[in-house]
């Protein structure tokens, strides 16, 4: 069998199934950040690890078509602005910068705790996309150097 980019068929088949579960677990950790251990940072790292898993198993050329890297750049840059926007909205509606201006809801509910959940999602997006872009840049550096030789 011809050796293709990435790892063997076994790894590819397992990755094809498991990467969705890993992504789902990352989203679960982010959304439940105000209820259980974890939060935006840990969930973002899990999402970045899922993308990294795909990149290791299928090779760099596959991930370039599978993911829109430019869109990841945009999400990464705009989530920093979103954090600031939540803070300024708090200044407008809650009286001070980063005030918790949304209603808190009932304790232990999934949708509760106001801006904490919003900020968790923003940080999760930022960390996930940012870490994967760093890995992608390292891989691209390798490709660039191969071109220059």
């Amino acid at each position: 069998m011809k050796q293709q980019a990435g790892m063997t068929l076994i790894v590819k088949t397992v990755t094809r199934i498991s990467v969705w579960l890993i992504l789902l677990y990352g989203i679960y950790i982010i959304l439940h950040g105000h209820l259980s251990p974890g939060g935006g940072f840990a969930g973002g790292v899990i999402i970045a690890l899922a993308f990294l898993n795909v990149m290791l198993a299928f090779g760099r050329d596959f991930i370039k078509n599978w993911l829109n890297i430019e869109m990841l750049h945009d999400i990464d840059s705009s989530s920093a602005m979103m954090f600031l926007a939540v803070g300024i909205l708090g200044m407008a509606f809650g009286g001070s910068f980063l005030a918790n201006f949304i209603s808190h809801g009932t304790l232990f509910n999934l949708v509760s705790s106001g801006t904490i959940q919003v900020l968790n999602i923003v940080i999760g997006l930022k960390v996930g996309m940012g870490l994967f872009i760093v890995v992608w840049a390292l891989a691209l550096f390798h490709l660039d150097r191969k071109e220059m030789k």
């Binding site: 950040g33 105000h34 290791l56 954090f83 980063l98 940080i123």
Partner: protein, 183 residues
Amino acid sequence: MPVESWLIFLLSFMIVGSIIALEMKDLLSAIISIGVVGLGVSVAFLLLQAPDLAIVQFLFEIFSIVIMVRAFIKKDYHKEEPSKVNKILAGVTVITLIAIFFLSVPLFKLLPPFGEPLMTTARYYLENGARETGSANIVSAVILDYRAYDTLGETTVLFTAILGTLTIIRIKKRVKPTEDEKP
């Protein structure tokens, strides 16, 4: 065994792992020893009842190990030249460090016992955190509500770090040789 003995065991395990990582000639073995040290930190966080930190430490350990193994496994960095050490300077440094360590041992008697007294700010957070923020996880309540400025700073640091990495790494793409420079 009480938690302290487990912690002492883990800490000595981690110190031994770090020394092995420094002394290994093979780079891959050194990376694996660093990973063992990081997992020790994760277990120590679990024993100290900080699952949030343990999760983040565990994930970052995996992330960094994957990147390091991927970066170094095919390179010829495995052989390492023995560095020239100024023996007098090294001896003076080691003696000074040992002297500082032994002189600072009496200071430990001045410290309060481990985990006491509970900080009054922490007690305030524990008593009022769930009511004031509506968040059941007290760590989320602290880092995203009480200390949200700190998290904003961390986000900015992460953003700047990623920008810096991209700037440094992608610098080769821009200096492509033009047509007339090519032979």
